[in-house]
Symmetry: C2
Subunit: 355 residues, 2 copies
């Protein structure tokens, strides 16, 4: 056994973020960081811990009338010559600094410092968010003990520039295929070229006008994009098949069945097969728990364009928002970083909401 | 050493074709068949033999005012559960029956029977036509002893339905690429989609009107076709590159530089890179040797759409045609066959021309 890596929860949120970054935790390798979190929270008298694989839940049980979830994933995308952390005096740089060890640091300090929050809190530190859904810690927990996630509201501390990002857009991938008839390319008139047949598919994509609906005061922005195309048999053969893989990002006022129906409408007369899909989540900012949170953290919210685990909470019937330090555009980039100012303002605002 | 496989040149052209099919000679494995051909022609007193690797040349040296080449390759595409040969009473079936052991059988019987042809003849039985140009027997011979191929006219006994196919179209492959800017597909407006950029390339292909020029009375038929397309980074990334591989088949009144210039014209504003090219060959039917041949074999000719070794002779300054038994559409198919009637009519017409 390696010596236990320990985390000092009495340190500043900036230093704690750096310490978390320095515990490498690429998806699949979360044991060390979760051990360290568990060891650090175990002595905290007002928390009840429950661990499942490399996810850890810490709950207050004060009998408050409201319960909220504060959640963050502990894994990162793969190392990209960006460890250990580096502090330039204004930002912590390094793998996972932005996505999302800064948010985990804020949640850990809330858990360790707020003995009597005005709302009961379920802190969730979970594994495997950056990989396939089947391995996701939230998926695993909700499969074995869904009631432990029950809450009136959830804050996912994903990077959102320390501003509330509400709801999320759904995402669907469809394969649009064309078929043809093979022939020798020297006598192409004997065949039907499936790649040429895909011209119309691309034309529909380029002329597509994405919706930008306003929901709960937030303007979403859909997108319809080819993400892959393939076709071809050999250099002297008219190809008989071509497939365009298309990613549709749809605003949360549209359900998955409605999104699929729309794909069949846009690509009418083509073969359309859904290969992957996840629903969006309505912002739900009018609900009391969400409205109170929004007011506590400054009153403004942006729409979330990308898909996040907010949708997973939404499907459990729990309204949820993203709110965390760091610029989401930097997530998964080699040069990701998180500003000290974001870390401090998030901690301050969350504390104000719960204190 | 295995026992020498022998060929009996006193047998009928149909039986000889079957015997040749039964000597497996997939490209790279031509030694046995070329040994058999050499052994069969060696006793013929009016022929002078020269072997280079697994290609064999047999020449008459009668001092005629004209010399012609009669050529056929001895290799085949890979075995496809189509050996040994089968004779259904009207056709010989089996690997290479059509492409082109029927033509080789005709050439062998001419070589063995015509002691005093009215034109000197250079019979060429060559290796590795079905694979890359560097291994092609004609390429190898013209590199080490080009003068041995010198002639006024050449007949390539490739399958042509026993009708003259004159000239051949050139072939060029170009990669037309588009570029873009990667972005997360949830915020696609931050990127530029290179696959969408290829819509215009496909549109130009679908609206392209191929030329059908008449040359020496033969109507050629060009073709411009995508033969492959690829693009895509990941399912959630706006792709920054897409490449369409395009095959241009051009009539022999157009040179390779002209064909390339035309590609740059058609795909103006796109990145166009030539990956492969081979020139066409003009039919040259007005030349005396060709005209005499055409008259002897029935007077009619078709244009050759595909690229053949006719172009190789053409580039050596030797007008050439395809003329041989078998339907070229059956070449490289598992079910290839050659009709008895084609074998007999080709042998008869070639004999009439040379006798």
């Amino acid at each position: 056994m390696a010596a236990m890596t320990s985390l000092d929860l009495s340190q500043d949120v900036v230093d704690l973020t750096a310490a978390l970054v320095d515990i490498e935790s690429v998806s699949g390798n979360e044991e060390t960081i979760t051990d360290a979190i568990e060891a650090a929270l175990d002595p905290v008298p007002w928390l009840e811990l429950w661990r499942h694989q490399d996810s850890l839940i810490a709950r207050t049980t004060l009998g408050r009338s409201e319960r909220v979830v504060i959640a963050g994933h502990v894994d990162t995308v793969p190392i990209n010559a960006n460890l250990p952390s580096r502090d330039d005096g204004k930002h912590i740089h390094g793998l996972g600094s932005c996505d999302m060890k800064g948010g985990v640091a804020v949640a850990l300090l809330l858990a360790a410092s707020l003995a009597e929050p005005v709302r009961d809190v379920t802190y969730v530190f979970y594994e495997a968010e950056e990989v396939e859904a089947e391995r996701n810690g939230l998926t695993l927990i909700s499969a074995v003990r869904p009631e432990i996630l029950a809450a009136d509201f959830a804050v996912l501390m994903e990077p959102s520039n320390a501003v509330v990002e509400a709801g999320c857009q759904g995402t669907m991938r469809v394969d649009v295929s064309t078929s043809g008839v093979r022939a020798h390319s020297a006598r192409s008139w004997n065949g039907v070229n499936a790649i040429h047949g895909a011209a119309e598919v691309l034309d529909r994509l380029t002329s597509y006008e994405p919706r930008r609906p306003v929901i709960d005061g937030l303007r979403y922005h859909e997108g319809l994009n080819a993400v892959a195309i393939s076709g071809g048999v050999a250099g002297n053969v008219i190809p008989d098949a071509c497939t365009v893989s298309i990613n549709y990002r749809f605003a949360p006022d549209r359900s998955e069945p409605e999104a699929e129906a729309h794909m069949h409408e846009v690509f009418e007369a083509f073969d359309v097969v859904v290969s992957d899909s996840a629903p969006g989540a309505l912002p739900g900012l009018h609900r009391p728990a969400a409205a109170a949170f929004l007011e506590a953290v400054g009153g403004s919210a942006n729409p979330k364009f990308g898909w996040t685990d907010v949708s997973r909470f939404s499907s459990l019937g729990i309204p949820a928002v993203n709110f965390g330090p760091g610029n989401p555009e930097l997530a998964h980039t080699q040069a990701e970083f998180v500003p000290h100012a974001h870390l401090r303002s998030c901690l301050e605002q969350m504390t104000a909401w719960l204190f």
